[in-house]
């Protein structure tokens, strides 16, 4: 317990009256990061659970790892490398993006927490990893920094921090880059970590000539160009299994996003709008990533069970609708999730109202 002792020895310095008491939030963040807090609620009812927010967030990070590790490999694979070379090349390319995202985001989080005298929120542990995974590998680092700062300040802190945000901060960062620096996140060059290689993504193929451009197995396993962490549906499903097994993400949301996307894809196929099979949409682009890691965000998705089904179905359907109908946006998942983030509270409101009406009806005969 050497570490515990060091932390305990440092504690008075940062507590009230100590020399560095103005850094109390920062110290608290590191202490609770290292050890589960031993304080309990002293009055009223409370639930005993060894799991807290930090441990929850760590599980999400673990669930992201398969997709991230595959992303490292795919970064190298896409420029013609194989085996360990490809993985190492990808690691060196992607690591700076992750570092920038964490450093910028955490600096702002710590700054705000310190200024407000709050505890540092845990949410950025996940957001900081999500942001690099939905960026193209060729993105300039300063854009990652600007987008992260925008997402944390305007997506989260102005609303009051983690738990109060209307929109998913990681997707907001991507949306910012998408609308502010469009050439850096679309087209045929940015998906490759090497200037000499270029090629359309599967989604661009689908939008222009109605083919996948790759075999469906390649698309499912993820050997296709795309954002760093989004290409491999297989690796994302491993993450989904972890999230569902630990009970952290909602299976209702995940299932209904896939169902909504599939239904919409099949509808377009049956009506002859597109010539390719509808389920292709589920394995290309960021669909699986959005369904598993973005739509399930506990803060911004619907809170009621019925609401989760409704929001999930609409997210999936909307994503495919944007992909097919709007040629300017080959990828619709980001906009679909953000749009449904905005509508989720409304859906929840009507679900709750409907429930109240239903139960009121039950009351009437008793009169």
């Amino acid at each position: 317990m050497g570490l515990r002792k060091i932390v305990d020895n440092l504690k008075p310095t940062f507590s009230e009256g100590g020399k560095l008491s103005f850094l109390a939030s920062t110290f608290d963040a590191f202490e609770t990061f290292l050890f589960v807090p031993d304080t309990t609620t002293s009055t009223g009812a409370h639930i005993r659970d060894c799991n807290d927010m930090k441990r929850t967030m760590i599980v999400v990070v673990v669930a992201l790892l398969p997709a991230l590790l595959f992303g490292f490999y795919n970064t190298g694979y896409q420029v013609g490398m194989t085996g360990f070379d490809a993985f190492w090349f990808g690691l060196l390319k992607v690591l700076p993006i992750i570092v920038v995202s964490y450093v910028v985001g955490l600096a702002i989080e710590f700054g705000f927490a310190q200024a407000r005298g709050h505890e540092v929120n845990e949410g950025f542990l996940v957001t900081g990893l999500l942001i690099p995974m939905i960026m193209p590998v060729d993105i300039p680092l300063w854009m990652v920094a600007v987008a992260t700062a925008f997402a944390v300040v305007f997506g989260k802190e102005v609303f009051g921090g983690t738990g109060m945000n209307v929109f998913n901060p990681a997707l907001l960062a991507r949306a910012f880059v998408f609308f502010a620096y469009t050439p850096s996140i679309s087209g045929e060059k940015v998906w490759y970590a090497c200037d000499a290689v270029s090629g359309a993504t599967a989604l661009e193929h689908m939008a222009t000539d109605g083919t996948l451009g790759f075999s469906t197995m390649e698309a499912f396993l993820g050997f296709i160009p795309g954002c760093i962490g989004e290409t491999s549906t297989a690796a994302i499903l491993i993450g989904a299994a972890i999230l569902l097994f630990t009970g952290i993400a909602s299976w209702r949301t995940m299932l209904s996003v896939f169902a909504g996307g599939l239904a919409m894809g099949c509808l377009f196929q049956l009506t002859g709008v597109v010539s390719y099979p509808g389920w292709w949409h589920l394995v290309v682009g960021g669909f699986a990533f959005g369904a598993v890691f973005m739509a399930t965000d506990p803060v911004t998705s619907a809170q009621t069970d019925t609401g989760k089904y409704i929001v999930g179905l609409m997210t999936g359907a909307l994503a495919v609708l944007i992909r097919v109908v709007n040629p300017a946006y080959p990828e619709g998942m980001m906009l679909a999730v953000l749009f449904m983030n905005a509508l989720a509270p409304l859906v929840d409101y009507y679900v709750v109202e409907a429930n109240i009406r239903r139960r009121n009806k039950r009351l009437k005969p008793a009169k």
Partner: protein
């Protein structure tokens, strides 16, 4: 100028700013601030209109029955806006074309009628004129701040002059790119929000409970 009159003139710059405190005239603040030059012209036009409509309505305040005052105000404002529009077309035609309908829409700018109703109808001409100038310039101040950031970050220029060198841009082998979001009105709203944020945190008495 007495200190009271000076307050009418200077108040709208900060503590009683029409855009960030009274939240009036937001629409045009979003529409005409992509570049600095149209924003400045717009600011001056609105200042002229608020100043003289305030003055005229203050002079007429004894003679206009309360029931038809709105229609009289509209006639005065519309006449002034048409004058401003013709002057802009005569002397700064390019900017006038850029501003397009927004010059005409000064008629609907909430600040103009708001100041007549709230101030000019109950005050003497001289304070009313000062109040009009103050509010016009207070509105213009916000417009210029927003346009400064939008033009600098969105186009890399200021008043049409290149500030960020060409060689910095990615197309020329550099590292920089303009923020395309700055050219969209939503970003103007976010900038106005930031100005309000800074302003409120410096003026504690304006903070809502």
């Amino acid at each position: 100028m007495s200190s009271k009159n000076f307050k009418y003139l200077a108040g709208p710059f900060s503590a009683n700013n029409p855009v960030i405190v009274q939240i009036l005239g937001i629409c045009s603040a979003l529409a005409v601030t992509v570049q600095l030059k149209p924003a400045i012209v717009m600011a001056l036009s609105v200042t002229v209109v608020t100043a003289f409509s305030n003055l005229v309505m203050s002079l007429l305040r004894g003679g206009v029955p309360a029931r038809i005052r709105i229609i009289v105000q509209l006639v005065v404002i519309a006449a002034l806006v048409i004058l401003v529009d013709q002057v802009l077309k005569a002397y700064v035609y390019e900017v006038s074309k850029q501003l397009s309908v927004y010059v005409g829409l000064i008629i609907t700018n909430c600040i103009v009628m708001g100041r007549i109703e709230a101030f000019a109808l109950a005050n003497k001409p001289w304070p009313a004129l000062l109040d009009g100038i103050g509010n016009g310039l207070g509105y213009g101040l916000i417009l210029v701040i927003v346009a400064f950031f939008r033009e600098l970050l969105g186009s890399g220029t200021l008043l049409g002059w290149r500030v960020i060198p060409e060689s910095w841009y990615m197309a020329e082998g550099g590292f920089y790119a303009n923020c395309g979001l700055m050219l969209f009105p939503p970003m103007a709203l976010i900038i106005v929000g930031c100005i309000i944020w800074v302003h409120r945190s410096r003026n504690k008495d304006l903070q809502e409970k």
